[in-house]
């Protein structure tokens, strides 16, 4: 019973907070650029509106086009249940650890890329090609960082990783952890399609990756994809903060612990948002073929992290 309640609670929290994080980042970015920006609730309004709207399906598309939004949304939601969020015990942590997280997100991306190709539009193909390329070269960096974390905790189960760090709360100051954090942060930027890798704010074909793939989606399907994208973003941010800084994670699923955990969690996420906004405002978008260099930096950071686990 308890596990079902915990699952429901974490699912709801993820579903509700994810659009908010997107809104907060947008507003913060606007303020950094001395604009007023839209209110932080805007993503909710967009979702509400999109869910009510009519949907246009391209006549070239097959059933795969319609299946994609569900797969993208469901994989992101499921991954959210495998990661510790407010309590150290993630509801579905036994169903898959960090490797399953990476591969489930890859499943969502696989379908998204197919959805982009399914319309026959050249923009869809362009987006798919670039998305798959960038995520492929981001993968080794991500895996090295994950290996570092998993070796330190002696487990790929994310709840175990979080618990192992609770006893040694200053572990994140270890060189290996800091380097791995750096690698993961770069991967986060690439995977969520943020500047300097991709620009979430434009629809200009020269710059776009993610937006090009979903160009033909509209109405409720677009709502599912947008929600799925913000879920994925929050999931990766949660992975980052709770593996490296597992402060305030509740040891059990009780009301008091969850409340404290949530407070800590929101603060941590806010800090990560702030970091992302700073990166986004102080950088220009990179040329597509410079991105591999950035990801190579991430890989080197990860590799150094690994080496330093047995040096220090």
């Amino acid at each position: 019973m308890n596990i079902i309640l915990a699952t429901l609670a974490q699912l709801l929290l993820f579903l509700i907070i994810a659009p908010l994080v997107t809104g907060v980042i947008r507003t913060m970015k606007a303020r950094f650029q001395t604009r007023r920006g839209s209110p932080i609730w805007q993503p909710y309004r967009d979702l509400h509106k999109l869910l009510r709207k009519d949907m246009v399906i391209p006549d070239t598309a097959s059933w795969l086009f319609s299946a994609t939004p569900y797969v993208v949304f469901l994989t992101a939601a499921m991954v959210g249940l495998m990661i510790p969020m407010v309590a150290a015990d993630a509801p579905l942590s036994l169903f898959g650890g960090v490797l399953a997280v990476v591969y489930l997100l890859a499943l969502g991306r696989f379908f998204l890329a197919l959805g982009g190709l399914d319309t026959g539009s050249s923009f869809g193909g362009l987006g798919s090609s670039r998305e798959m390329t960038i995520s492929a070269i981001a993968e080794p960096a991500m895996m090295v960082a994950i290996f570092t974390v998993a070796i330190a905790a002696n487990s790929t189960n994310l709840s175990e990783v979080a618990k192992s760090a609770v006893g040694q709360s200053w572990r994140f100051l270890a060189p290996s952890q800091m380097l791995a954090f750096g690698a993961m942060f770069i991967v986060l930027i690439a995977e969520t399609g943020r500047i300097p890798v991709d620009n979430p704010a434009t629809h200009l074909e020269l710059t776009m990756i993610h937006e090009a793939m979903i160009l033909e989606y509209s109405g409720p399907y677009l709502a599912l994809i947008e929600w799925g994208a913000s879920l994925k973003q929050l999931v990766l941010m949660t992975l980052l903060v709770n593996t490296f800084f597992p402060f305030g994670l509740s040891p059990a699923w009780n009301a008091q612990g969850v409340a404290i955990g949530l407070a800590f969690y929101l603060i941590k996420i806010a800090i990560i948002c702030c970091l992302i906004v700073m990166v986004e405002t102080t950088n220009a978008k990179m040329r597509l073929f410079r991105v591999p260099e950035l990801l190579a930096v991430a890989f080197i950071l990860g590799a150094l992290a690994l080496i330093s686990t047995f040096l220090f």
């Binding site: 699912l11 579903l15 869910l51 391209p58 006549d59 070239t60 598309a61 097959s62 569900y70 469901l74 939601a77 499921m78 249940l81 579905l92 036994l94 169903f95 898959g96 650890g97 490797l99 399953a100 591969y103 890859a106 499943l107 696989f110 197919l114 190709l117 399914d118 319309t119 026959g120 050249s122 923009f123 869809g124 193909g125 798919s128 670039r130 798959m132 492929a136 070269i137 981001a138 993968e139 080794p140 960096a141 895996m143 090295v144 290996f147 570092t148 070796i151 487990s155 790929t156 189960n157 175990e160 074909e205 033909e216 109405g219 409720p220 599912l224 597509l288 591999p292 990860g302 047995f310």
Partner: protein
Amino acid sequence: MSSPLGYTFFGGLLAYAVGAIASLISGRIANLARILGCGFALAGGLLEVVSSGIALLASADAHWEIHAAVPFLTYGFRLDPLSAYFNLILSLLAVAISVYSFGYLRPTEEKRTAGVLGFFYNLSLLSLTAVFTASNAFFFLIAWEAMALTAYCLITFEHRKEITRQAGVLFFVMSHAGTGCLLIGFLLLNSLSGSLDFSSFAASSANLTGSMQVAVILLFFAGFGVKAGIIPLHIWLPEAHPAAPSHISALMSGIVIKTGIYGLARVMFEFLGVPPLWAGTMILGFGVVSALLGVLYALMEHDLKRLLAYHSIENIGIILIGFGASLMFITLGHPRFAAIALIAGLFHTLNHAVFKCLLFLGAGSVLHATHTRNMEKLGGLIRRMPQTALLFLIGAIAISGLPPLNGFVSEWLTYQALLAGFGSTEKLTRILFPVAGSLLALTAALAATCFVKAFGITFLALPRSKEAETAHECGFSMVAGMGILAALCVALGLGATWFLPAFDGITQRLLGVRMSGDLVAGARGLILTAGSPRGGSVSTAGIAAMFVILSAVPGMLWLFWGRKGNREIRPTWDCGLPGLTAENEYTAFAFSKPLRMIFAALYQPRREIQAEYDVSPYYPTAIRFDSEIESPFEDRLYAPVQRLVLKIATRMRGIQAGSIHAYLAYIFVTLIILLLFGVRS
């Protein structure tokens, strides 16, 4: 022979043999030949599934020996768990491929070739079974050679095409170079044990030391490596596999290359005793290189079958990562880790066989319907061939290692083995494990990219040619053959933990541990763990169940917000450009362009553009575009060897006078020398 195991095993062999002869005899009546050839292969496959299934579950160790009139030769068969496991893979594929072939071979009736094809097909199944179950080196080599020869005949089946003949010759040469290595290797082992029996090699493994051990490891690695398609011994594979008829390509990529894997498993884990650390390291290294380069070259292919052939190299690499890690763990004294790594490798062998066979059969259906393998001429097939498209998609998801299908499970186990490896030693070699892991991650992600391309360009959006436009779904038996394999992909993915006890017999015999109890946890044993639930776990069945449960969320959204009938089907928007045609679509070539630029150092792409224009270069009337990438192994490694061999051969011509007297003299002299040799020792 008079046990259920014996009856089914020899019944299966008999069915293959009868099938070969029957289809050859009935060759003039094409319809009958096709049905006999496929029918007996199907029956043989089913019998072998039963016999190897029994042998595997019971961890049996059955021997049968039939003495031949030839000295040294005994037709010795042995079904121990390892043999039974590989025979199970073979027979599962034989069943699916035979069902598929009923429909696929229908067009061959006009040319009356079904009889010969059925003959070689059944013979190759027979020789493959013999390779996996032979219990002595002499019989093994005979079966091995029979397999190579039938494979050659099947590859060059469409021998009127020049390119097919070239592929056949390349296969022939490479294959025999490999067999030569095996022959020397077995003779070396024989010199130690004094017998040709595999069991005697295993018994005398402790005597294998020093330079003899080095020689044995290298010879067998090269010999079996050629067959498995390990880079740099792979060059025949992307030529030969696509050249064969598609159901044969499926057999080749599915199981024939796995004979190399079987041989490596047999020799490295049984005949070596405790292998030296460098052997495991070498295999791990070659595995990583094969996996990564295999997928990188696959990405550059636009020929559907060549693309799949390169992916076979990639997956052989993944299997070898498991094997290499396992051997390293044996040396370092961690039998449990070794068992996990070995299970990962063996499970991936089965998984790759299943999904690669499915994908090749899918490619065969596409070829059958459109008469082209060139992806740039395909497209839109998901509407014209919906069942084939769905089954191909299942194969594509499985080979990309995505959950919840079978490819994910074996890759997950490989990662867990590599992770365990880091803590297994204090030496610097441990850094190899995470590096291999991260390159495996890159490989898997690139494989997903490649299959987005393969599936997306072939099946989605608009057809790019008339052939693709007029394509039609293939017949029932072809869909059924692929359906069996797709069902296996799903079953081995979701029910992976229920399949794991099948490995207990193998790991017990080779490593002395049984792992299935430790690898499985949770209610109904549906959670797969990395040795213990604390170390990490995954449940593909759980993930699949959660997909169903979580789909309540979008369901609720529709209920609260959705409105009825709010879907319209309209032309693709495409940023407002009117009139979308197939020319607007992304091509396979364009899709892989970013990777071609990123890995330019490897590919060394060259391109040539010729534009013709009347008035101004800005208004070209025709453009010709050519692009090619470097093939370093052929140009840098094999070309010099080839030149050298030809040079020596030209010199040798001197003694080939064409006179029969001279030849008789050579024979006489050779005989004398050999006799002197014999007298001295």
